[in-house]
C-alpha cells in the first residue's frame, strides 16, 4: 500500500483535483498512519489560529479617514497618458513588425541578386532592372574571370557591394535588437519600481 503523505498538505489545503482527492480519501479510509498525519496537519492549523488577529486600536472609520487625509494628490490618468501607456505596450509589436519587414526585404534582395547571376534569369533582370550591377556571388566570379578588369578593382567592387548588403541588411536588425533590449530594460525597471519582491 503506497502512502499519500506527500499529497496530504495539498489535500488539507483543498488544492487537489477531484480524482486526486478521491484517491487520497480512498487511501485514508484504510491507512491509519496517513489519517494520523492528516489529523496532525489539522491540529497544526487549529493551533495557528489560536494566535489572535491584530487587535486594531483604531475604529474603522477613523482608519479610513486617516488614510484619506494622507493620500497624496494624484491627478487622474489623462487620455494622453493612456495613449502613451498603450503605445509603450505596443512597442515590442512594432519592433517585431520592423524586424519582419527588414528580414523580408533582405531575403528578397538576396534572392534577386542571386538570380541575377544565373544566365537564365540574368536577362530577365537586366530587362526589368537595367541599372543593377553585378553584386552577386556569381557576378563576382565572372568579374574575376574577366581579365580586362583589374583584379584589385574587382575585389574592391565586390567588397563594397557585399559590405553594402550587410550594412543594409544587418544594421537595421542590430538597431531593432538594441531598441528591443532597451524596451525590455525599461519594462524591468518599471516593474522593479512598482513592486519589490520577496525572495
Amino acid at each position: 500500500m503506497e502512502h499519500v503523505l506527500d499529497w496530504l498538505p495539498a489535500y488539507h489545503d483543498g488544492e487537489l483535483k477531484n480524482g486526486q482527492a478521491r484517491r487520497v480519501e480512498e487511501h485514508l479510509a484504510q491507512c491509519a498512519s496517513c489519517r494520523a498525519e492528516l489529523e496532525a496537519l489539522q491540529s497544526f492549523s487549529a493551533l495557528l489560529h489560536e494566535s489572535a488577529p491584530a487587535a486594531t486600536l483604531m475604529r474603522p472609520d477613523r482608519f479610513v479617514a486617516q488614510v484619506e487625509l494622507r493620500l497624496p494628490s494624484r491627478p487622474a490618468q489623462t487620455s494622453a497618458q493612456r495613449v502613451l501607456e498603450t503605445g509603450w505596450r505596443l512597442i515590442p509589436v512594432g519592433l517585431f513588425g520592423a524586424w519582419a519587414f527588414v528580414q523580408t526585404v533582405f531575403i528578397v534582395v538576396a534572392g534577386v541578386l542571386l538570380l541575377q547571376g544565373f544566365p537564365l534569369t540574368a536577362n530577365l533582370f537586366s530587362a526589368v532592372l537595367p541599372s543593377t550591377s553585378g553584386v552577386s556571388w556569381l557576378a563576382g566570379q565572372q568579374c574575376f574571370t574577366d581579365t580586362s578588369l583589374g583584379v584589385v578593382w574587382c575585389v574592391a567592387d565586390y567588397v563594397i557591394s557585399l559590405g553594402g548588403i550587410l550594412v543594409v541588411g544587418f544594421v537595421p536588425l542590430v538597431v531593432i535588437g538594441l531598441l528591443y533590449w532597451g524596451w525590455l530594460a525599461g519594462w524591468w525597471l518599471r516593474r522593479q519600481r512598482r513592486v519589490v519582491y520577496v525572495q
Binding site: 482608519f63 479610513v64 520577496v198
Partner: protein
Amino acid sequence: MKTTTISEETERDWIARAQAGDRQAFGELVYHYREGVINVVYRMCGDANLAEDAAQEAFIRAWQHLPRYQPRSPFRNWLYRIATNVAVDGLRRERDTVDIEDASLAASSPGPETVVEHNERAERVRQAVLALAPASRLVLVLREYEDLSYKEIAETLDIPVGTVMSRLNYARTQLRETLKTYLEAA
C-alpha cells in the same frame, strides 16, 4: 481573516472610480480591505501599532499605483502584494537597526496586563511564526490566515506555485517542530 463579501460589480465600480481619482470610492475599498491588510502586515511584523501604520502606508502606495492596476488579478491579491512589500520593507529597515528576532520577541514580550489577556500558547505560536524567515512566513500567513489558494499566493508574490508549495512545506515543518510540545499535548 476574511473580509466581508461585496459584489464584484460594486468592487469594479469602486476601483474604476478610484482610478479616476475619486477618494471616496477609494475610502470604500480601504474600509472593505482594511482588516485583511492590517492582519497580513501584523502577522509579518508582530506589532499591532506598526501594523496599522504599515497598512495605511500600503493603502497610500495602492492609491499611487492604482491607475496602473489591471483587473486581470483580483484586487485583494494586488493589495496584499503591496501590503506584503510594505511589511518586508519594514522588516528590512528593522533588521538594519536591531536583530529581527530580538525585535520580534521584544515587541511580543507580554507586560503584566497582557499576561492575563493573552493565552500563552497563542503567544508562543505568534512568536514561532515571527521567527520564520520572511519568505516562508509570508506564504504561511497568506495560506493559513488569509485563506489564499496556492495559485493566488503565487500571483500575489510573483513566484511559481512550486515555490509556494515548497515554502509552505518548509514553514509548516519548522513550526511543527517548534510547537511540538503544544501539538503533542493537543
